[in-house]
């Protein structure tokens, strides 16, 4: 599973992209977040307040209850500010 971080989330994790292999019971975004937060204090800080975080799975906007599986591309980022 590929995990991406953008904007200030990337600043907190210190990485833009990582390849991870969570345990099989990590089946949705909420479980993935809980598992990622154990990887480093930076991860924990980036994903601390999920009201400030948006998620995409395979480049589509999704909610915390969206399923995730091996091979997915999961991205975490703040609300967008383009245009």
């Amino acid at each position: 599973m590929k995990v991406l971080y953008f904007a200030w989330l990337k600043g907190k994790t210190g990485i833009g992209e990582e390849e991870v292999t969570p345990p099989a019971e990590v089946a949705d975004v909420a479980a993935l977040v809980a598992w990622l937060k154990t990887r480093s204090p930076g991860h924990a800080a980036a994903l601390d307040d999920l009201r400030a975080v948006r998620v995409a799975v395979n480049q589509d906007h999704v909610g915390l209850d969206a399923p995730v599986a091996a091979g997915d591309e999961v991205a975490f980022f703040p609300p967008v500010t383009g245009g």
Binding site: F6, Q59, A75, T81, G82
Partner: protein, 156 residues
């Protein structure tokens, strides 16, 4: 057509090349978004020296194409153009251009307005503003969310 690019574009040339000579088209609406030299919503705020636009390559194009498709579902459009830049931008530089062409002026207006409103809340871009006090990520506005929501939900 969607273009996501680091390099600048020429709005006049883009308009001149948009739906030229198409006599079914009665109206073209175009919006051009520019870098302002102040923080926030009111002139007189902290000076902005420039900004860096980060984006999510791949998802950006995918989302913009979905928004274009939604606009074409909702209005009878002959042409659609969205250009969005990323990377380092100075004040008064161009960020985004949206243009629509339709037989009907109201369709051209509404679809152009819709495209920029939806793009603002759905396309994965993030602005990092550079000021004398340092860099800071621009926060999303509730007002932008409200402007997008007046168009209702869609497939995009």
């Amino acid at each position: 057509m969607i273009r996501v690019q680091r390099e600048d574009f020429d709005p006049g040339a883009e308009l001149a090349a948009f739906a030229p000579g198409n006599a079914r088209v009665g109206g073209i609406c175009l919006f051009l978004g520019l870098v302002r030299d102040f923080v926030g919503d009111q002139p007189g705020g902290t000076a902005v020296r420039g900004m860096t636009l980060e984006h999510y390559p791949g998802m950006t194009e995918r989302q913009l194409e979905a928004i274009e498709a939604e606009a074409r579902r909702r209005w009878p459009l002959d042409e659609v153009l969205v250009i969005h830049r990323y990377g380092a931008l100075a004040p008064a530089e161009r960020i985004v251009l949206v243009a629509t062409a339709s037989a009907h002026r109201e369709a051209a207006f509404q679809s152009c307005h819709f495209l920029i409103d939806w793009l603002k809340t759905k396309a994965p871009f993030w602005k990092l503003e550079h000021t004398a006090a340092g860099d800071s990520w621009v926060e999303a506005r509730d007002s932008d969310q409200a402007l997008a929501e007046r168009w209702g939900a869609g497939d995009a």
